[in-house]
């Protein structure tokens, strides 16, 4: 016999009230990152040189700039979700765990904003 109320069962959100949200976001970003990562690695490898002008021109091309922003968002979000799980597994004092998760979240968010800003700046100025 289930001890859960019918309402709790249909909602399916569990004790943390977010259900499988974390798991699902990790999978969705993983799926998006498969083509994005392969594109990024091969595109960088195929650049004719690594000088400043070549890189700026590559980043500024609309197709590349859009995919770069997508890579930055999906990549840093996926990275944050992974780091959060690692912290939850290995950092035991509650205050340290919560502090590190919050700090890594703020860090990933700021890094993503900075990177997106720079990509757009290069795209619009060149």
């Amino acid at each position: 016999m289930s001890m859960r109320t019918p309402l709790a069962r249909v909602k399916g959100l569990g004790a943390a009230k977010e259900g499988v949200g974390h798991w699902w976001h990790q999978r969705l970003t993983a799926l998006a990152l498969v083509p994005l990562t392969v594109w990024f690695c091969l595109a960088i490898a195929r650049l004719p040189g690594s000088d400043h002008a070549t890189l700026v021109a590559w980043i500024a091309a609309p197709f590349n700039a859009v995919l770069l922003v997508a890579l930055i968002i999906a990549g840093l979000y996926h990275g944050y979700l992974g780091v959060q799980v690692v912290l939850e597994d290995y950092v035991h004092p509650h205050w340290a765990r919560t502090t590190l998760i919050v700090v890594s979240g703020f860090g990933a968010f700021l890094l993503a904003l900075g990177a997106i800003f720079v990509v757009l700046q290069l795209a619009f100025e060149n």
Partner: protein
């Protein structure tokens, strides 16, 4: 004193040989953390590009040194390993590939795939 009965023992962690799947699982997590550090590095390089040719020249010199090269190749390998094993995880998530034999074979395929993709990418970059 010898053990006289055949009761199973729980694994003794200092003498227990981890199965291939466990090793791959640990490497998956480690490469994930390595990629986070690599992403920070690449974003710093991106910032240097935006800051102008002079600051980018500094970053480029660091990346072109042998230690910079080694770091980039290591990062590529970590990235492709995590990607291949991630695809393996996605197949598990939709319910495929759980048989012990399959699981070992895909673990090996992950390692081989990562090496092949890393070599291909760097050949493309350096040739």
């Amino acid at each position: 004193m010898a053990y006289e009965d055949e009761r199973p023992l729980s694994p003794h962690l200092q003498v227990y040989r981890l199965p291939l799947t466990a090793v791959v699982s640990i490497i998956h997590r480690l490469t994930g953390l390595v990629i986070v550090l690599g992403a920070v590095l690449l974003i710093v390089v991106l910032f240097s590009v935006a800051a102008g040719p002079q600051s980018y020249a500094t970053a480029q010199a660091a990346l072109d040194s042998w230690i910079g090269r080694l770091l980039l190749i290591g990062l590529t390998l970590a990235l492709y390993f995590h990607l291949c094993n991630g695809v393996r995880h996605l197949f598990w998530d939709i319910g495929y590939g759980f048989e012990l034999e399959t699981v070992d074979r895909t673990a090996l395929a992950t390692a081989v795939g990562a090496l092949v993709l890393t070599s291909a990418t760097w050949l493309l970059a350096l040739l």
